[in-house]
């Protein structure tokens, strides 16, 4: 439930543009990222780790654009 001053129609516009993220191994860690238009470029969505210290590492901040070989899990 959203409690915000932004009207819902503004929050939810472009909701058809939500991509489902895919799992990648980036710098040895499992992350969720969405592919960007440029091939091999991904935007980091979430770090999947149980080590809290890694969440302070700027390499794994959500929103960071990473370059990575496009290697979705199910094609290997």
């Amino acid at each position: 439930m959203l409690h915000t001053i932004v009207p819902p129609e503004v929050v939810w516009q472009n909701s058809d543009k939500i991509f489902s993220p895919q799992e990648l191994i980036y710098l040895g860690q499992k992350v969720l990222a969405i592919p960007l238009e440029q091939p091999g470029e991904f935007q980091l969505v979430q770090l999947l780790s149980s080590n809290p210290a890694l969440f302070l590492d700027s390499n794994f901040q959500p929103g960071r654009v990473i370059r990575y070989p496009a290697r979705p899990k199910n094609t290997l």
Binding site: M1, L2, H3, T4, I5, V6, P7, P8, V11, W12, Q13, N14, S15, K17, I18, L27, G40, V45, Q46, L47, S49, P52, A53, F55, L56, S58, Q61, P62, G63, R64, V65, I66, R67, Y68, P69, R71, T75, L76
Partner: protein
């Protein structure tokens, strides 16, 4: 079969490219600028304060469309664990400029901060609206910039007809959780907070109140009007008190 081989060779090549890229990035700090729009500033190895920013929408159970700037709570929660656990970090500075967001995510962050043993200081810049309010008051001490504002308004499903009484009761309970948290962590009374929440004539599209910096302090929501200097000084004070 041949395709498989090509695919693997390609990946191998890209892996090597990746490691070269990382090396370059370490040598050239501008490489980082290209990617994120931010320069990695030289970090002071002796910094014992962790700064966390809560900006845009607080994203919780639902992924918001890409035009929203969001703070993801699944990233903030383990960061707070790391701050609490890391011996080198003596205090947490929380900088807020948020329009609100998911109620449960906001309350989760607020509860985590409130239950930390290390000193915490918050600074509201620009805005600390809606569910940003509980996060701002969750810290041991809170500051607000003179020009910043905080909006207090009821929780509701805008545009939806409330069909059964249970829905209304659910919203009411959700709101009670927010009100109780804010009252327990600031100097404002339940009656006063509810009065501000249901005031009419202040907001164009809603009922509620917009408090500017000094007003937020006067009603007892925030402790002091101030900026980054005052906030850091307070955090240092609290940290040295804790050491003794």
């Amino acid at each position: 079969m041949q395709q498989d081989y090509h695919g693997m060779a390609g990946d191998y090549k890209n892996d090597r490219l990746l490691s070269q890229e990382q090396e370059q990035e370490q040598e050239n700090p501008l490489a980082n600028l290209e990617e994120t729009g931010q320069l990695k500033l030289p970090t002071n190895p002796e910094s014992d304060i962790h700064c966390m920013t809560i900006i845009g929408q607080i994203e919780g159970h639902m992924v918001l469309p890409p035009q929203n700037k969001t703070t993801k709570y699944e990233h903030i929660l383990p960061q707070l664990v790391a701050v609490e656990q890391n011996r080198k970090i003596e205090g947490l500075l929380l900088i807020l400029n948020t329009v609100g967001g998911d109620v449960e995510a906001g309350l989760a962050i607020a509860e985590m901060i409130a239950s930390m043993s290390k000193p915490t200081v918050s600074l509201v810049l620009g805005g600390g609206h809606s569910i940003g309010g509980p996060i701002a008051v969750a810290c041991d001490y809170s500051f607000i910039a003179e020009t910043a504002t905080m909006t207090i308004h009821p929780i509701r499903l805008t545009g939806m007809v409330i069909g059964v009484p249970q829905t209304y009761e659910y919203l009411e309970k959700m709101q009670d959780r927010v009100v109780r948290f804010v009252v327990n962590h600031s100097r404002i009374s339940v009656e006063h907070f509810r009065e501000l929440m249901f005031r009419t004539g202040e907001l164009a599209r809603d009922i509620g109140t917009i408090l500017s910096g000094r007003e937020a302090v006067n009603v007892g929501l925030i402790d002091e009007v101030g900026g980054i200097g005052a906030a850091l000084n307070k955090l240092r004070d609290l940290a040295s008190q804790r050491r003794q």
